[in-house]
């Protein structure tokens, strides 16, 4: 199926992309659809990009649904383990 559902998040960070170079990323696009490369019928796909740098400057992930949930859990666990004072969103 094609879910057509596309989620977006404004982000601020860096990612290592095409050509092995680091770049600033400002936008994350998340959707569950057919992958280009991963051998699953559907995957949770994440694109990290800075649209001002053009379409080819994209860091792409295609993860099985289980993998995506494990990644989310790992991210949340890592953030939860950090002393509040070290996080820039501590006052939020």
């Amino acid at each position: 199926m094609c879910t057509y559902a596309t989620m977006h998040a404004d982000i601020d960070g860096s990612a290592k992309g095409p050509g092995g170079t680091w770049q600033h990323v400002t936008d994350a696009t998340v959707y569950f659809d057919h992958p280009v490369h991963a051998l699953h019928e559907h995957t949770l796909n994440i694109d990290l990009a800075d649209p001002s740098r053009g379409p080819s400057n994209r860091i792409a992930l295609e993860l099985s649904a289980t993998s995506a949930r494990q990644l989310v859990a790992a991210i949340n666990d890592a953030l939860a383990a950090v002393p509040t004072a070290l996080r820039e969103d501590a006052s939020a």
Partner: protein, 243 residues
């Protein structure tokens, strides 16, 4: 057969890249516009374009993402188009219209042009056939021809039910019985609307097939359904685009 990249005027006169494949020879023949799926103007879609040339048609696929990402890899272009909310229907129809006009302008054209699309392109093929002067349309498991997308989905897409009474040519629909987008019930609704409107609709539903059963390099590939589907497409176009 020759295959090449050409440019044609699309929506609002925009320059649009397109992939063109043509049989050898000067005999008159029909044309086929291939609408690429949401993952873009990719290798699999171009293989389909060449296959239609092998079947004897001048075939073309406009790059619907050319505006956003000229020259980018298909997957990168698709990512940009998706992030921007997809291709507006009005733009899609005009780009397909430009591609059809290009085919009809070829010296080998017999004046007849069909359209085909898979997945998102299936819906777009039906929509194009409701708004353009076309001679045959093929919908391969297009989602949201009927049915209603959830209201909170970011991609701006609606069904094409209101357009169906204007369908101007015969429609061939190929679907997997295990597909959910479109579901068999949604295909039933499409069939009912078209038959109530007096339209020509040929429908085939395949066992042991879900979405994207034509995609040869994906786990969803189902050779029995795909081989039969290609034979149905060839017969359908021969009946409506020949002569």
């Amino acid at each position: 057969m020759t295959a090449s990249t050409v440019h044609l005027p699309g929506y609002a006169g925009d320059d649009v890249e397109a992939y063109l494949a043509r049989p050898e020879g000067v005999q008159r023949r029909g044309g086929v516009v291939v609408i690429h799926h949401m993952p873009g103007y990719d290798r699999g879609t171009k293989e389909m374009v060449r296959r239609f040339a092998v079947l004897g048609y001048d075939a073309i696929c406009p790059n619907l993402y050319w505006r956003e990402a000229p020259g980018a890899a298909p997957d990168d272009a698709a990512a940009v188009a998706r992030a921007n909310g997809g291709v507006p229907d009005e733009q899609l129809v005009a780009d397909v219209g430009g591609a059809a006009a290009y085919l009809r302008s070829l010296p080998t054209s017999n004046g007849k042009v069909g359209v085909i699309g898979h997945c998102s392109g299936g819906r777009q093929a039906v929509l194009a056939a409701c708004q353009l002067d076309l001679d045959a349309a093929v919908d391969c498991y297009g989602a949201y021809v009927t049915g209603t997308p959830p209201a909170d989905w970011p991609l701006k897409i609606t069904n094409v039910v209101d357009h169906l009474p204007a369908l101007g040519c015969p429609l061939l629909g190929l679907f997997g019985k295990q597909d959910s987008y479109p579901s068999p019930e949604q295909v039933d609704e499409l069939e009912r609307i078209l038959l109530d409107s007096g339209k020509s609709f040929e429908r085939h539903d395949y066992d042991d097939a879900a979405h994207a059963f034509f995609a040869v390099d994906r786990p969803s590939y189902r050779p029995v359904a795909a081989i039969d589907g290609w034979e149905r497409i060839a017969a359908f176009y021969a009946a409506h685009l020949g002569g």
